[in-house]
């Protein structure tokens, strides 16, 4: 039986088993008003989004966050100020509430200064993994209380943006190790940082090489192939997958170009406009993260990653033989990404995408 095709729960002790039949309505009833009710409820409650940026110092993480949300999330460190790199990896979180057209968003950004900056970077991913798991743990504890809150505060990391330095060659061992581990726990979106140091051709070549590296090491970045629900999603997501990793440039200063005020970086040889598709792919990143796939990111975190963690945690404490839902958090040589996650995403028929039409592994 296809492990993803789970029948709905059969455990309801109904007196007579219901047959689901579809009925035709003879006129307008007004059921679709429920969508508006949903919207009102959502706007009243507000949204939450937690994003984590990971990368070596100097790659422009803080600037990128400021550019994404068009506000000063925190002060970006200027080069040459001699800020000492922290000895160990510390995670800093800052939370803001932003509002746009009546929609309130509680945004939490977690930064990781000191990542990959030491001489010996062994196990530098442990604090990050620990932080992510801690958030899952917190949610789990809230969920299994007897009297629990109406709305459990969600601090789980929904998306992790990984900044790849623009070497132009390929992924470094540190990148590969980190991505391998993190892709199983959280949604990871890799980006090429400081892309203004690469020409367009170099960018494309770099991108192809990174994609090849990711395939070789079986690293599934967001949007994951195995969670595509149907043909529409697959088409959409494969377009995105072609362009991952995005080559981005961040800037929080405005300059005058052709009479317009744009965000950009001013150099002697020109102004790099951040929101210009011909210059860099920042708009793609922004659209992916905020405008189209935010809810999707949250859903996958809640339904897949959190559930995996929960299974792992509950199994561990029971000292039971590990079942198929167990996720190996310790690194393996080349962990197969798809098999531990046997839970399907939605109730629609989820075709187990094994096609190799656009992918050679």
């Amino acid at each position: 039986m296809d492990p993803l095709r789970q029948p709905p729960s059969p455990c309801s002790p109904r007196p007579s088993s219901p047959r689901t039949q579809s009925c035709e309505m003879l006129g307008y009833v007004g059921i679709e008003a429920v969508l508006d009710q949903l919207k009102i409820k959502a706007m009243k409650m507000g949204f939450e989004f937690n994003i984590m940026v990971v990368g070596q110092s100097g790659l422009g993480k803080s600037t990128m966050v400021n550019t994404l949300f068009k506000s000063k999330m925190w002060k970006s460190t200027l080069p040459g100020l001699g800020v000492p790199t922290p000895k160990t990896l510390q995670l800093q979180s800052v939370t803001h509430v932003i509002e746009e057209k009546g929609v309130k968003l509680k945004l939490t950004v977690t930064d990781t200064p000191g990542f990959g900056d030491q001489i010996n970077n062994d196990k530098c991913w442990d604090p990050i993994l620990g932080y992510i798991n801690e958030q899952y743990e917190r949610y789990l504890q809230e969920e299994i209380l007897i009297t629990r809150q109406r709305h459990i505060p969600d601090t789980r990391v929904h998306c992790c943006v990984y900044f790849v330095p623009p070497t132009g060659h390929c992924l470094r061992p540190l990148d590969i190790e980190f991505l391998q581990r993190l892709c199983q726990t959280v949604n990871v979106v890799p980006v090429i940082a400081r892309a203004d140091s690469l020409t367009i051709e170099e960018r494309e070549a770099f991108r192809r090489r990174i994609q090849h590296n990711l395939r070789t090491h079986c690293i599934e970045v967001y949007p994951q192939k195995c969670f595509d629900e149907d043909i529409n999603d697959r088409i959409l997501n494969s377009k995105i997958r072609e362009r991952i990793p995005f080559a981005v440039v961040g800037a929080d200063r405005e300059h005058l170009v052709n009479g317009r005020c744009v965000l950009g970086r001013k150099t002697k040889w020109g102004i790099i406009e951040v929101e210009n598709m011909a210059h860099c792919e920042f708009p793609l990143l922004r659209d992916l993260l905020i405008r189209t796939h935010l809810q999707d990111l949250k859903d996958i975190t809640h339904n897949i990653h959190y559930e995996n963690y929960r299974v792992f945690r509950l199994n561990k404490s029971h000292v039971l033989p590990r079942g198929p839902g167990w996720v190996n958090l310790a690194p393996g040589p080349a962990p197969s990404p798809a098999s531990p996650q046997a839970t399907p995403r939605t109730m629609k028929v989820c075709r187990w995408t094994q096609d190799n039409s656009d992918d050679e592994c």
Partner: protein, 498 residues
């Protein structure tokens, strides 16, 4: 009239445009690529269409055209580390509610209605009228010995909203002569649905998003139109259900009551409910868009409804109505009955709230009671917070220990019994052996005796034959002369014999 009232609720709600009333579409699948109902939801920006747009024309043009958002005024600090931020440009997350709605459309909606009322009071007809279809059903008999619940699930679709509707009917309610057990099956059914959900939630490997939610979201309680007051059975049933489900009482077959009587009846019913402490569902009045209309509807409870799927020509159109010799009762006429109000409240305005209440209030209450019953608490004996996990672990260890102990005990008793049985068998064996020996001896003795006897007998035979021989010789001696040959023969015989 009904139509206008129906739409006016919307005007309050949205303030944007009104949805066009549309005929029910045939299987209009979830339409991601384009048309959404006009005036309804904003079109969600598609990733690739935006991408395309951006590639063609520079994004700069777009940002220039869009007025920079005037930052909202600072909000109050909610938490210590939460600050509100003003943005200097358009970020674009106002599409978030649309993303949420899209996902909900994909998943589909689920709604479960429980209809409680006596047989023949018009439950099935009302449901048919509410959803404007003919759910197949036949009249139920009045002669059931117990109350049973019958659940049926239907899939309805209206434009792009898919609804999985489950109607649960009570069969045989109020028909028995002794009605003491009437409401218990209903309570048990509701609890069973909560239990099923709780079981699924407590599983290790669970799939909640896949789970067909069968918890009852609303209970329509049908009151018969006597015009006097609530029946005792009704009161009892409602009292036992009010903490488990959202109850909306309706007066069924309302065309049997006149308007003045209806007013008095409603007042009497509400006062009885209040004085007996029955908590019926109040439409929520905290959101200002629907507060006014909900508040006014709260005053019209319980709704007096008439159900009918038959169409009658009134004026120049066909309306759903019931035809009597003295007139026509139109179902969707607000002056005739409250059906339109019920439909509006139930489906158009508060469906989401009903589901929400069921999940956050009734289900949580059930869960809390159930877990406390099982012995879990949140706070340990020293008032430090205990997690469900630890309590569960502790209980499990305890249970294991108990089980071990019992196993040991059983083993011991088993071994004991085996020993006893063995001893018994050995004993029996020995006895048997002894008996055998004894018998053998007896047999031996008898044999010897018999041997003895035989020997004696043989000796006697020999002695007897000797005697016989000698006596014969003596007898034959006087007759010896004639027969010397005879004597010779006799001698010969004797010698042979000897």
């Amino acid at each position: 009239m009904g139509r206008a009232a129906h739409c006016s609720a919307f005007a309050v709600v949205k303030g944007q445009g009104l949805p066009r009333r549309r005929q029910c579409n045939h299987v209009s699948r979830r339409d991601r690529t384009g048309e959404r109902p006009a005036g309804g939801l904003r079109q969600l920006p598609r990733w690739d269409s935006l991408h395309h747009e951006l590639f063609q024309s520079h994004m700069a043009a777009k940002t220039a055209g869009m007025p920079s958002q005037l930052p909202d005024s600072e909000q109050n600090q909610k938490k210590d580390n939460t600050r509100s931020l003003t943005m200097s440009g358009h970020v674009g997350f106002e599409s978030l509610p649309d993303q949420l709605v899209n996902r909900s459309i994909q998943q589909g909606f689920c709604f479960n209605i429980l209809c409680v009322g006596e047989t023949g009071i018009g439950k099935s007809t009302l449901i048919d009228t509410l959803f404007n279809t003919n759910f197949e059903d036949h009249e139920s008999s009045h002669f059931y010995p117990h109350v049973r619940l019958k659940a049926q699930t239907y899939e309805l679709q209206e434009s792009n909203v898919r609804l999985k509707l489950t109607i649960v009917n009570t069969v045989g309610f109020g028909d028995q002569i002794n009605k003491e057990e009437s409401y218990q099956p209903i309570v048990d059914y509701i609890d069973a649905q909560f239990e099923a959900y709780l079981q699924e939630e407590l599983k290790i490997k669970r799939s909640l998003f896949n789970y067909h939610d069968s918890r009852i979201h609303v209970c329509l309680y049908f009151i018969s139109p006597t015009g006097h007051s609530l029946k005792t059975l009704d009161l009892l049933t409602m009292k036992s259900l009010d903490s488990k489900v959202n109850i909306i009482p309706v007066i069924a077959k309302a065309d049997a009551i006149s308007k003045t009587e209806l007013q008095k009846f409603k007042i009497k019913l509400m006062s009885e409910l209040v004085s007996n402490g029955v908590q019926i569902y109040q439409f929520p009045t905290d959101d200002e868009t629907i507060a006014k209309i909900n508040a006014s509807m709260n005053g019209h409870l319980p709704f007096a409804v008439v159900g009918s799927m038959d169409e009658v020509k009134v004026g120049n159109k066909m309306v759903k109505a019931r035809q009597y010799p003295w007139g026509i009762v139109q179902v969707e006429n607000e002056n005739h009955c409250d059906f339109v109000k019920l439909r509006e409240m139930l489906l158009c305005t508060n469906m989401e709230d009903l589901r929400d209440q069921t999940h956050t209030r009734h289900y949580e209450l059930y869960r809390r009671c159930k877990l406390e019953e099982l012995g879990f608490t949140d706070v340990g004996p020293e008032h430090e917070p205990l997690s469900l996990q630890e309590t569960y672990e502790a209980k499990r260890h305890e249970f294991y220990g108990e089980r071990q102990r019992k196993e040991e005990e059983m083993k011991q008793t088993f071994v004991q019994r085996v020993k006893e049985k063995e001893a018994m068998l050995k004993e029996a064996e020995r006895e048997l052996q002894a008996k055998f020996e004894h018998l053998k001896r007896v047999h031996q003795e008898e044999r010897m005796k018999l041997e003895e006897k035989r020997r004696l007998l043989e000796e006697e035979i020999i002695a007897f034959s000797k005697k016989k021989a000698t006596s014969e010789i003596h007898q034959n001696q006087p007759f010896m002369v004639p027969g010397s040959s005879l004597r010779k023969d006799k001698d010969r015989k004797n010698s042979n014999f000897m």
